[in-house]
Each structure stands twice: as structure tokens, then as C-alpha cells.
């Protein structure tokens, strides 16, 4: 990648009391690239996103977006600066319709109500939610709620897009159409960091991968490099061995 990275995290840490959820993690995200993050449950992936997005205040380290330090900015300012994220556990605004859920972010980013409605509709139709525009989020399936999460973040055309397990619970056709949209977003020049449990999907979609375990970054590189990384293999084989014992 010859270009300067869009987003740089240097030694970012997040603690919860005695638990170090994120331990001095450094990474770079480039425009037009999908950076995958893999790791077991509890590895600290979501905490890393919450720290990047400003939901958590970092206990150490520094984050820059296009060379501007965003470490001290609150969440809403980071969003305006160009960091969009999805929540692993969807957090729709229950009192608003599906379309309005997408409109909120666009309005906060300076669009008029009419413009926001147009873009929101377009985004949702692109994800196959055309029949649900006026529905309450409560009428959506868990998979559709994830798509709504994704639509809210993607519609903002951010510089950096943080996707936290957006494919979980999607049907195969939904996975296909969402993957298409993710690729399109990448090709439009957005830097994407993507947390995913499905290793096969990750190997297929990610340009580079960072592997995490217990808050640490234990490996990074191309999908092939990471797949051959002995530390990564140990963590994943360890889990398989443990799963084997259970069954």
C-alpha cells in the first residue's frame, strides 16, 4: 500500500478494572482496503471498536484519522469526522421507523430531511429491505436488524467503516448481497475494518487480517500469512481441541 493510511491506531489500550480488554494494539487501515479482525469470543475485538469509535475513552495510545488526532474526540465528533461503526448487538432506535433510523445519521451529518430520506431509501433497497422502510425495527428479523445496522453506517459514506460481525445471522442470499455492498464500499475508497467469526468468509473478503487474543494483537498480514502464523494456529487449534473435548 503506497498511500498513507486513513486510520492509524498506536498502542491503543482499554481496561475494565483489572481486566485489560485491549492491550497496546497498533494497526493501520488504508483506503480501498478491507482489514479483517479475527479472534475468539472475549479477545477484545468489540472493545477495540468501541475505543476507535469513541464510545470508550482509551486508557492509552493514540488514534489518527487522515493525520488528525481523534483520541480525545467524543463519539459523535468522531462520527462527523468520518468514522462509522455497526454494533455487534444491533442498537436500533426503537421509536423510529427503519427508514428514519438511517435518516438520523444522515441528518446529523448535515443532510436535509428530504435528502436523508432519499439516501436512506436507496441504501435500504440496496440491501433488500425495500418492504420494511416504514416498519418498526421491532418487526425485523435478527438478520434484518444487522442489515439495518449496516445500512446506518454505510449510508454515511465514512472514511473509516467499522463492521462488527455484520454477517452473523444472515441468510446465504443476504450474506451474498451484503458482501457485494461491502466490496463496492471498499472499491469506492472507504477504509473498512471488519470483525468476523466466519473464517472462510474472512479469507475470501479481507485484504489483510489482524488476529487478536486476550486483548493482544498476535498476528497480522495477508490472509495466507495469518493462516500460517503459528501463534494464530495455536489459539485456533486450542479452541478446536477444547471443543473436541466437550462434545
Amino acid at each position: 500500500m503506497p498511500e498513507a493510511p486513513v486510520f492509524v491506531a498506536e498502542n491503543v489500550s482499554k481496561r475494565f478494572g483489572g481486566l485489560i480488554a485491549v492491550d497496546k494494539v497498533s494497526l493501520e487501515a488504508h483506503a480501498g482496503e478491507i482489514l479483517g479482525i479475527m479472534g475468539q469470543n472475549g479477545a477484545g475485538k468489540t472493545s477495540l471498536f468501541n475505543t476507535f469509535a469513541g464510545i470508550y475513552v482509551a486508557d492509552g495510545g493514540r488514534m489518527t484519522l487522515n493525520d488528525v488526532d481523534v483520541t480525545a474526540l467524543p463519539a459523535w465528533r468522531r462520527s462527523i469526522a468520518g468514522i462509522a461503526r455497526t454494533f455487534q448487538i444491533p442498537q436500533p432506535i426503537w421509536s423510529l421507523s427503519v427508514c428514519e433510523n438511517v435518516q438520523v445519521g444522515l441528518i446529523a451529518h448535515g443532510k436535509s430531511k428530504a435528502e436523508s430520506a432519499e439516501i436512506a431509501e436507496e441504501t435500504l433497497v440496496g440491501l433488500g429491505l425495500q418492504a420494511k422502510l416504514k416498519s418498526d425495527p421491532g418487526d425485523l428479523t435478527p438478520g434484518q436488524l444487522r442489515l439495518l445496522e449496516f445500512a446506518r453506517a454505510a449510508s454515511l459514506r465514512p472514511k473509516l467503516l467499522l463492521l462488527d460481525e455484520v454477517f452473523a445471522g444472515l441468510s446465504l442470499p443476504e450474506q451474498q448481497s451484503t458482501a457485494d455492498v461491502v466490496r463496492k464500499l471498499r472499491d469506492s475508497g472507504i477504509a473498512i475494518i471488519w470483525i468476523e467469526h466466519n473464517v472462510r468468509l474472512m479469507m475470501e473478503l479481507a485484504d489483510r487480517i489482524v488476529a487478536m487474543d486476550h486483548g493482544h494483537k498476535i498476528g497480522a498480514g495477508t490472509p495466507l500469512e495469518v493462516a500460517r502464523n503459528p501463534d494464530v494456529i495455536r489459539v485456533y487449534l486450542g479452541r478446536q481441541a477444547a471443543d473436541g473435548k466437550k462434545s
Binding site: 469509535a53 469513541g54 464510545i55 467524543p74 463519539a75 459523535w76 462520527s79 462527523i80 462509522a84 461503526r85 454494533f87 442498537q91 436500533p92 432506535i93 426503537w94 421509536s95 423510529l96 421507523s97 428514519e100 435518516q103 438520523v104 445519521g105 441528518i107 446529523a108 451529518h109 436535509s112 430531511k113 436523508s116 425495500q130 418492504a131 416504514k134 418498526d136 446506518r152 454515511l156
Partner: protein
């Protein structure tokens, strides 16, 4: 969400109801004190609904804001010889600043909802205690305004003009709410109230938005308090720091329908009527507190019968008579797709 009715229909409804209210005194169906009482409840409930129903902040200092408005207007007129508008503006500035500071600090300190309620209740109590102290010290028995007819200084011998002012205020508040909730601000406020996390991740400045709602909600009670001072000509801690008024505001908003446009208005009408009916039924010699008991029992019945507030019952009746089912428009769209 409320069904997306035509915005002009909503505006027209507010104006029609406003005209009916303005004509009410000439119908001679009831006393002017009854009408003023209703308009005061309505203005207080509609504006409290902004902070609590739309913003999700249980602000218990609403009546303290009313008292501040009453005091500042009375002091400006009776003690300083100023035009009442100066007192009204001063009251508004004080209550808006107080609301802004308290809500902003509460957000910064991440005070929980219940603590916010407790905090504002204590703030109200503190302001009440302070004014009682001052009153005992400096102006024995409160502040009296001159009983004159001077329309340019908002002094009328006929109380009906104060009723007109209050109803005009209520109509203005309803129109403002109708407009804001349908604008893009409505979406931002709903998002900020519903999910701080989701909203801020989408770029919504949650603290600013909700603080603004709290500030906006603190302005009408100051104006109502000022009008009360001008109409009653007498302001003392005991007639403006009324716990019953806070209770009536909260009850009207909640039984009417929290967060809705017409709920607090209907709730205010309901509790004014209930008060009046009980008073005429029980009479003035109520030694055992029968009034309060009947009042309480009626409120319990309303809460049990209409869990969604009176506005819910109103909508239910409306839908019974409307020929088209509510979801017809949506269904047409679905079959297209």
C-alpha cells in the same frame, strides 16, 4: 410512531381547538378561574412533556421555574417599577440558564434518570426554601402588584385577558411542538432520547440536543408564572411553590399520554374537570379529605382503563369511526413490491 397524518391537518386541528378555547369565556359555561386553571395546567403540562416525554428527563423543577417567573415579574413591576416584560424576560433567562446548567452537568456527571429527578426536586426545594427565607426577612407576606387598568403594562381589571394570553401560549407551544417533531430535529431528539450510544455513534450530539430540549421546556413555565403574577396580583412562596401544581402537571402529562402532542392538553382538561366535579360534588366542607380520595380513585381508574393515556382512548374511538384501516397505505405499498 404516531400515524403519519397530513401536517396541515394537524396545524388546522391546533388552530380550531385554539379558537374554541378563545371563545370559551363568551359561552359563559363556567367561571374564568376554571378556565385560567385549565390553561395554566395545559401550558405547564405541554411544556413538561417536552423535557420528560420528548427528552426523557424527569425534571421536577418545572414548578420552581413557574415560581421564578412569578417572582421575577412581580419584583420587576412592584419593587423596581419596571415594565412587566422586563420581569418576564428576566424570569425566562434565569429558568433557561438553570435548566441548561443542571442538565448539562447531569450529563457530564452521567447522573442516572432517577438521580436527575431527585436532583431537580432538591433544586426546586432549595429555591423554595431560599425564597421563603427572603420573604420572612425582607418582604413580609409576599409581593403585591397594583390593581390598576393599564393594558400597555399588561394590567387588566378583567381576568379574561390573562386567560387569552395563556391559551395563546398553549397554542403557540402546540404549534411549535408539532413543527419540531416533524422536522429533522424531531428525529434527532427521538434518537438522542432513545439510545444515547446509537445516536452518538451516528453523529448526533446527544448532550447538546437533550440540553436544548430541557432549556426550551424551562421557558414556558416562567412565562406562565409571570402571567399568574399579573393576574393574581399577589406572589408569595406559599402560592407559587405548590407541590400540588407539580403533581397536577405530572399527572396531566402522564394520564394524557407522555410524549404525544395532544396528550398533556387532554390530561390538563381532564384533571381540571375532575377537580371541578369533585369540588361541586363534595362541597367546601371537606373535613376528612374526601376530595383527595375521590381524585386519587378517579386517577387510578384512568391509569388502569387507559394504559396508553387518554390520547390512546381518543385514538381508539377515532379508529372505530374511520372507514379505512390504519395500515391500508402500507399494505398497498407491500403488494407493489
Amino acid at each position: 410512531m404516531t400515524p403519519a397524518s397530513n401536517p396541515f391537518l394537524g396545524t388546522a386541528a391546533i388552530i380550531v381547538v385554539g379558537i374554541v378555547c378563545l371563545l370559551a369565556p363568551s359561552l359563559n359555561l363556567t367561571t374564568i378561574d376554571f378556565l385560567i386553571g385549565f390553561a395554566v395546567y395545559a401550558a405547564l403540562a405541554v411544556s413538561w412533556n417536552w423535557v420528560c416525554g420528548l427528552g426523557g428527563l424527569i425534571n421536577m423543577a418545572h414548578i420552581a421555574f413557574y415560581a421564578i417567573g412569578a417572582y421575577s415579574c412581580a419584583i420587576a413591576v412592584a419593587k423596581l417599577g419596571l415594565h412587566p416584560i422586563v420581569g418576564i424576560v428576566a424570569g425566562v433567562v434565569i429558568t433557561a440558564s438553570l435548566a441548561g446548567i443542571v442538565s448539562y452537568l447531569s450529563f457530564r456527571l452521567q447522573v442516572s434518570e432517577l438521580y436527575f429527578a431527585l436532583l431537580t426536586l432538591m433544586l426546586a426545594d432549595g429555591i423554595g426554601a431560599l425564597s421563603r427565607g427572603f420573604e420572612n426577612e425582607y418582604s413580609l407576606g409576599g409581593v403585591y402588584l397594583p390593581f390598576v387598568n393599564d393594558p400597555l403594562r399588561f394590567a387588566f381589571l378583567d381576568k379574561v385577558y390573562y386567560y387569552y394570553a395563556l391559551i395563546a401560549l398553549v397554542i403557540a407551544l402546540l404549534l411549535l411542538q408539532h413543527w419540531v417533531t416533524r422536522s429533522k430535529w424531531g428525529l434527532l431528539i427521538a434518537a438522542a432520547k432513545d439510545s444515547e450510544r446509537a445516536a452518538s455513534s451516528l453523529g448526533v450530539p446527544v448532550v447538546r440536543i437533550l440540553t436544548s430540549v430541557a432549556v426550551a421546556s424551562a421557558i414556558p413555565p416562567a412565562i406562565v408564572g409571570s402571567i399568574f403574577a399579573l393576574s393574581s396580583l399577589y406572589v408569595t412562596a406559599d402560592n407559587v411553590f405548590l407541590f400540588e401544581l407539580l403533581l397536577a402537571t405530572v399527572i396531566a402529562t402522564v394520564i394524557g399520554g407522555l410524549g404525544t402532542l395532544w396528550g398533556p392538553f387532554l390530561g390538563a382538561l381532564a384533571i381540571t374537570l375532575i377537580h371541578e366535579l369533585i369540588r361541586s360534588g363534595v362541597g367546601v366542607t371537606d373535613v376528612v379529605g374526601l376530595t383527595d380520595m375521590v381524585y386519587g380513585a378517579i386517577l387510578v381508574c384512568i391509569v388502569v382503563l387507559f394504559p396508553g393515556g387518554l390520547i390512546g382512548a381518543f385514538r381508539f374511538v377515532r379508529d372505530l369511526f374511520s372507514p379505512k384501516p390504519r395500515n391500508a397505505v402500507l399494505d398497498e405499498k407491500h403488494s407493489d413490491a
